[in-house]
Amino acid sequence: MTSETLCKNIQSNDFLSKAFYFGISLNTTVPKKQVYTDLEIFVLKATYSLSSSRITEGVLCWLKAYGHLLSPSKIRRLILASENYDSAVFGVFTDFLIRECKNGHQFKILLPFSSKLKAETPLYSSPRIRTPNMNFKKYNLIAHSYKLDLSKFLLPKTNTYKTCVELRNRALFGSTVNADVASYLSYNPSATAYKVSKETFHHKASVFKVFADIQESA
């Protein structure tokens, strides 16, 4: 195995491990990490991790079920701060979130960060697809017309909310900042406001405003 292949496998296992942690029903051999895992970073990472139709269908099902808990403005901030992502797949995700989520119109602010590939390109290797998925084709990506079977591709929501503090806090709190600060502190109770701001990718001022209350209430 070349170091490049090994590196790709480790990256892919790490992504699958996070996908499983966030409630996507895919096998993983990597144990769950007991560290804060950022939801928006996960979504951006997903744009370049769709290496098979199972992973793609799992991620789309997840966006359909949990997309309303994502923060469009935080995603925009991460992109502007040069976080890696695939702009064509990102276009597919953004359209999908606009179409499928409660308050989907909020994701329209992300449309300028998507782009169409110059030529038609298969999303992953497979025999020719005769009737490609139109949502992907819009960005010159050739992919299957997935059935999006949520019961097959997602772990039960009640279980996911029980085991995944990042999603649970997003569901419980009205504010993304409060949710992420509380999630980060649950793994690192003695972290400083500055450290939390850095690791959760929120403005220092926003974190400092809520930090003391959350730390004391926890």
């Binding site: 699958l16 029903s25 895919l26 096998n27 098979s52 139709s53 199972r54 992973i55 269908e57 799992g58 992953y124 497979s126 025999p127 020719r128 697809i129 005769r130 009737t131 299957h144 017309s145 997935y146 059935k147 019961s151 097959k152 591709f153 997602l154 772990l155 039960p156 279980n159 996911t160 085991t163």
Partner: protein
């Protein structure tokens, strides 16, 4: 297969079936069969497909209960594959799995799995590449893929009055399958 959530759930199901003096017959097919057969490098969903019907409500309730305990879906062990056409004498070639006492479990023979995956590929190739991905993992020989094409011809060939498009699609599927080896 150690520390696999599905194996752990099957172990737990076996225990509760034994406590309640219930029995369950399963013939495992699908992606979990690939894992059991040692082709465990692929990505798959966390469920177990069996081609044998599960219709005892008590057993179905226990499956759902174990799913809840292990964070799996309520139909993590399901008989959705019971309605698909299977190769003849599939049970004679299936391998018995000994690790459970109340679950009488078999795993599909590799060549039969190639036939079933070939058939699934021809049916849902526009929706997913999972059957193709699994076929690649199974690495069929030329002889095995020809046997699978024979199975496809017998059960999934388009009717004589099918449209030209359907016939072309069928021919392309056979062409793709032959290119796999």
């Amino acid at each position: 297969m150690k520390d696999n959530p599905l194996s752990n759930a099957l172990d737990a199901l076996d225990s509760v079936l034994a406590q309640q003096k219930l029995k369950l017959d399963i013939l495992i097919c699908g992606a979990f069969a690939l894992q059991i057969l040692g082709f465990d490098r692929g990505v798959h969903t966390l469920d177990v497909d069996t081609v044998m019907k599960i219709d005892d409500p008590k057993v179905l309730n226990l499956i759902a209960e174990i799913g809840k305990q292990y964070g799996l879906s309520s139909n993590w062990l399901n008989d959705q594959a019971a309605s698909v056409t299977t190769p003849e004498d599939i049970f004679e070639r299936a391998k018995k799995l000994d690790q459970w006492s109340s679950i009488n479990a078999f795993v599909i023979d590799r060549v039969d799995l190639i036939k079933m995956k070939t058939s699934a590929f021809s049916i849902r190739r526009e929706e997913t590449s999972k059957d193709w991905d699994d076929l690649k993992l199974l690495s069929p020989t030329k002889q095995e893929i020809e046997a699978a094409i024979g199975f496809l011809r017998k059960f999934n060939a388009p009717p004589k009055n099918a449209s030209k498009a359907d016939i072309d699609n069928y021919k392309e599927t056979i062409h793709d399958l032959r290119n796999l080896v």
